[in-house]
């Protein structure tokens, strides 16, 4: 029971890191980025390839799994995404679907169809006993790392000057730029951080999902969207709670009622969207 709970929490934390960037671009910048998973895939590939081909230690690859997608993200934001900030949701969806369709064959072309397996270092393998229950070491690692990221993001957005500026720019870009805030740059940085987080999430997820392969962006797009739909798009806390809920429900559901499969989380998402279109954990009248 506790084992499942912890597994679910670990999975949820992972989903949070993967989806946090999407929640930010969607909630703060009002941009529907379905290509978010492609950045996750990129981060996953960075870690897996560095470890397998060059023998770089796992922990060293993680910052790179953040940096590379962040740089790619900012480059794409400057050249492509920013043209679509004011467009209709339909245009944004079509555009980012197009990017996903392009990213998958590129990965396939460069690295082949089969999943790139990840080999965890010894000290992250195995399980230990906690209050009489077996707990995976890597799951605990995930909970600690992702929890720290969530905390850092929350402090960053609420406590710092940058966060305050960002929220101002989102509420009213015109007034914000009139007050001397460089809205353009803010959005670029935010986008980079979001893409980087997706990359980091992809790297951390590589072991849990059985390796990174070219179908990663579409396979997980659905999960991201569900997390964001349930968590709401304003604020880190909502995304975190949404991700945890989905993680626990998914793991527990697959364990206790395997015949229903992914049905449970789809149903939860639909019910949420019907009852509270702004998300389960949104405050008041979110956008």
């Amino acid at each position: 029971m506790l084992t499942i709970l912890i597994d679910g929490v670990g999975y949820g934390m992972l989903l949070f890191v993967l989806a946090a960037g999407l929640s930010v671009t969607l909630g703060l910048m009002n941009f529907i980025n379905l290509a978010h998973g492609a950045f996750g895939m990129l981060g996953g590939y960075v870690t897996v390839l560095l470890m397998n081909r060059l023998g770089v230690p796992f922990l060293v690859t993680l910052p790179l799994a953040f940096l590379v997608p962040a740089l790619v993200g900012v480059a794409m934001e400057r050249t492509l995404y920013r043209r679509l900030y004011g467009s209709s949701p339909l245009d944004q969806v079509l555009f980012t679907i197009g990017l996903v369709f392009m990213a998958m064959p590129i990965a396939n072309y460069l690295l082949g169809d089969s999943p790139q397996q990840m080999h965890l270092p010894e000290w992250l393998k195995g399980r230990y006993e906690f209050a009489g229950f077996g707990v995976g070491v890597y799951r605990s690692f995930l909970i600690v790392v992702c929890g720290a990221i969530a905390l850092a993001l929350q402090v960053f957005l609420v406590g710092t000057r940058f966060g305050a500026r960002l929220r101002a720019a989102v509420d009213d870009p015109t007034v914000a730029s009139g007050l001397g805030i460089d809205v353009d740059r803010l959005f670029a940085i935010t986008f980079a951080v979001g893409s980087g987080l997706a990359g980091l999430g992809g790297a951390l997820a590589a072991d849990v999902v059985g390796g990174i392969d070219p179908s990663f962006p579409t396979k997980f797009m659905v999960m991201f969207l569900i997390v964001v739909a349930i968590g709401g798009t304003n604020g880190i806390l909502g995304a975190l709670l949404g991700a945890l809920l989905i993680g626990v429900l998914d793991v527990a559901g697959k364990y206790y009622i395997p015949s229903l499969g992914a049905f449970i989380i789809y149903a939860v998402m639909l019910v949420t969207l019907i009852v509270r279109p702004q998300g389960l954990f949104a405050k008041g009248d979110g956008r």
Binding site: L26, I32, L80, R83, L84, S87, S88, P89, L90, D91, V93, L94, F95, I97, G98, L99, V100, F101, M102, A103, M104, P105, I106, N108, Y109, T218, M221, V222, L225, I226, A229, S259, L260, G261, A262, F263, Y266, A267, M269, L270, L273, I274, P277, Q278
Partner: protein
């Protein structure tokens, strides 16, 4: 009737009249089916996809409702017709009706979900619905054959014409007849007071409501009709390929049909068919050149289409259509 009412009536009548260019379009389609029998399966794919895109046009082009989950109705229609045939009721016409009925009922049931929230919520809800039904079809393998798909044999159309592998051209002709009948119906719907009120809803929902149009009911109505169309398209697809598989519910299907409609231009009903033809031919061409990586080029097309402005692209298609068939598309709607 007062003079201005008369003028409006005249205008509407003029709008509803069949242009010679439209007639030429359909004659050309018939000719193509007969002239190139060797590519009958490709033509059939175009016609079925054209019907599917037409169904999306009814909600996106006419009412301005976005959907990323239209594949749900395609899949439900296909499985309804397929299961019926597998149980021995293999009359194709019956299959079409049942497929359309199931699609329509599902549309009617899920339509209220579209009334709340933003475009984003609608995209997610429709996507969620299609994923859920895909998962149901996957889990209910005793009924649907699960991941292996459902194979069956079809009877003759009206007891006369065999479709399926022996009669590829018959299959294409069968699809063409179904498409044409449903197109005429859709055209009639678009010209009807119901269709005109949908245009009002699309252009400005608040104002349409203030004019006394029951906007919610109109949207639910057209969504159910559109879903029934998609159900028929699914049934048609299943019947002419003799298989129903889980990939019908895929996100890919919803994205592809959206792309077809965007290429051809939404709102004037021919866009879906033209777009389906361009899309299927293009995909066939690219896939034969690079079988593994054709997705890349489709993605590139989407990105370029959006960046150059899809209104402009569909305007280009419209203008091309106008030079070929002048006066026919005066009231072509916007995307």
């Amino acid at each position: 009737m007062r003079p201005h009412e008369q003028r409006i009536a005249q205008h509407l009548h003029r709008r509803a009249r069949w242009r010679w260019s439209e007639i030429a379009f359909w004659i050309a389609v018939v000719v193509i089916v007969f002239v190139i029998p060797s590519r009958a399966s490709l033509i059939n794919e175009i016609l079925v996809n054209g019907l599917f895109a037409l169904s999306l046009d009814l909600i996106l082009g006419l009412a301005g409702v976005v959907s990323l989950g239209h594949a749900a109705f395609l899949g439900v229609g296909a499985y309804a017709a397929g299961i019926l045939a597998a149980q021995g009721l293999d009359d194709p016409t019956l299959g079409l009706l049942v497929g359309g009925l199931f699609g329509g009922v599902l549309g009617l049931v899920t339509a209220p979900l579209l009334l709340r929230g933003s475009d984003l919520t609608r995209l997610m809800v429709t996507l969620g619905v299609s994923l859920m039904f895909g998962e149901i079809a996957n889990r209910a393998s005793w009924l649907t054959g699960g991941a292996d798909g459902l194979e069956f044999t079809m009877g003759k159309v009206l007891g006369l014409f065999p479709i399926g592998f022996t009669g590829q051209r018959n299959a294409a002709l069968y699809s063409l007849v179904v498409l044409f009948v449903l197109f005429v119906l859709a055209r009639r719907i678009r010209q009807s007071p119901f269709g005109l009120s949908l245009t009002a809803v699309r252009e400005n929902r608040l104002r349409a409501g203030a004019l006394g149009i029951a906007t919610h009911r109109r949207i639910i109505g057209v969504y159910a009709i559109s879903a029934a169309y998609a159900g028929v398209a699914g049934a048609l697809l299943a019947q002419t390929t003799a298989i129903a598989s889980l990939d019908l519910f895929d996100f890919h299907r919803s994205a592809d049909v959206m792309l077809m409609l965007i290429i051809g231009g939404a709102g004037y009903l021919y866009g879906g068919i033209i777009g389906a033809a361009l899309f299927v031919v293009l995909r066939d061409f690219i896939a034969s050149a690079t079988p593994q990586y054709w997705e890349f080029w489709i993605g590139l097309l989407l990105v370029v289409l959006v960046l150059t402005g899809r209104d402009r692209v569909s305007a280009l298609v419209l203008r091309a259509a106008r030079t070929i068939m002048p006066n026919s598309l005066k009231q072509g709607g916007s995307a």
